[in-house]
Symmetry: C2
Subunit: 244 residues, 2 copies
């Protein structure tokens, strides 16, 4: 497509243990698609510095942007800032501007800026802060890596802060046709249509709903007119199909 | 922990585009934890053979087992069998036993075993089939790689077929204490307790519920008694905390 690419590193034992179902990947994927940035790969890694560094270095090399989720709180298992500093080979320490944001926030809420909370002001050298309108403790961007909190409401607010600062490409548009026929019936027709539309991407997703074995065909691309034409061709071949 | 490790490769443009929220990773994570196998890393990659091969080769090298999800249906975008064959450097072709399973299934359901469906009998050389009690088309295991469908009901059935054949370790047990205090208040106490329990793993997960900024502390390990003792120590330090 020629659009910029992104990678994501989800940091969290709680995802890998099955305790929590990740929500941030799905949110980021949708926002990036709308912004014309292709999410090329996601890696979910545990709270282990060497594993975070490996994933970060692989994706910041292969992608235009990398987003991380998780591990920037006040406790012993929040090691993302240190991991990012290690990946870039820079120092990390409590920084005055981040500390001032926290000090103001806790003064307002009547809480102590204690030693644990001060960990959240540890920012790798050279990073720019990402605003956190929900709970103050900032994320940060270093090079092409954008470091964000794991709590979904905070993650989402940080994505909203960062995305407008990035240059996107053409938004990826998609339209979906639901055919209440099994994928094996749909495939031959679909394979024929795919060949005539090399500029579009076609996905075929079987579903089971009660007794119905059906197929959703998703047409993706950046040219609305071409997508509409392909949808019309497919709809004509599957009477009863409905757009979703 | 000394438990066997697993990696997962989720294959699917539909996840990376944000169209679909992945469910299989969460399911597998829970089942593996119960079986005493540590999920060490998940990679989500697009429907592109080279990208699938890279992820597969990295994880089958670093993990005891690898599970894949998606891309084994009848359409042009179902390329997982070919990617696995390429990763292992073996051939892939329609195989008699897989074909027989499909032939019997479609004879029963009154559908044609057409050319598209026959793609689902393409099995890499040397693989063992994984039973699919939902929609017949089998998955397969090759070496330490277990290849499964993306449709959640089928994926789950295949996990249930494969897991009992693997040797697990001690099941990872976890208990959760909810403290209605912000993570920054909880951190100092928690950091103290963590040091006394090096055989356990402690996770700290902030949450926001209405006006409450709270923290869930998750204690994980394989020794039920030790976990219970640590939970009691923490509960005593946070009056009003409740186990979830």
């Amino acid at each position: 497509m020629g659009n910029p690419t992104a990678g994501m590193v989800v940091i969290g034992d709680e995802i890998l243990s099955g305790r929590t179902r990740d929500a941030n990947m799905h949110h980021l994927a949708g926002r990036l698609t709308a912004a014309g940035i292709d999410l090329a790969e996601v890696r979910v890694v545990p709270d282990v510095q060497a594993r975070i560094v490996t994933a970060l270095n692989a994706l910041r090399e292969s992608c235009d942007h990398v987003f991380t989720s998780g591990g920037i709180g006040p406790t012993h298992d929040d090691i993302t800032a240190d991991a990012v500093a290690a990946a870039f080979g820079v120092g990390v320490d409590v920084r005055a501007d981040a500390r001032a944001i926290l000090a103001e926030h806790y003064a307002k809420t009547g809480r102590d800026l204690n030693a644990a909370r001060l960990r959240m002001a540890r920012i790798p050298d050279g990073a720019a802060l990402i605003e956190n309108p929900v709970s103050a403790a900032p994320g940060f961007s270093l090079g092409n890596v954008h470091v964000m909190a794991g709590v979904p409401s905070v993650f989402e607010a940080m994505v909203a802060s960062v995305l407008p600062t990035l240059t996107g490409g053409a938004p990826l548009i998609s339209r979906t046709l639901r055919v209440d026929e099994p994928e094996g019936e749909v495939a031959a027709v679909l394979n024929g249509v795919v060949g005539d539309h090399a500029d579009l991407s076609f996905g075929s997703y079987p579903f089971i709903a009660g007794q119905v074995y059906g197929t959703r065909i998703v047409i993706r691309g950046t040219d609305e007119e071409r997508i509409g034409a392909a949808l019309a061709v497919l709809a004509a071949k599957f009477p009863g199909a409905v757009e979703e």
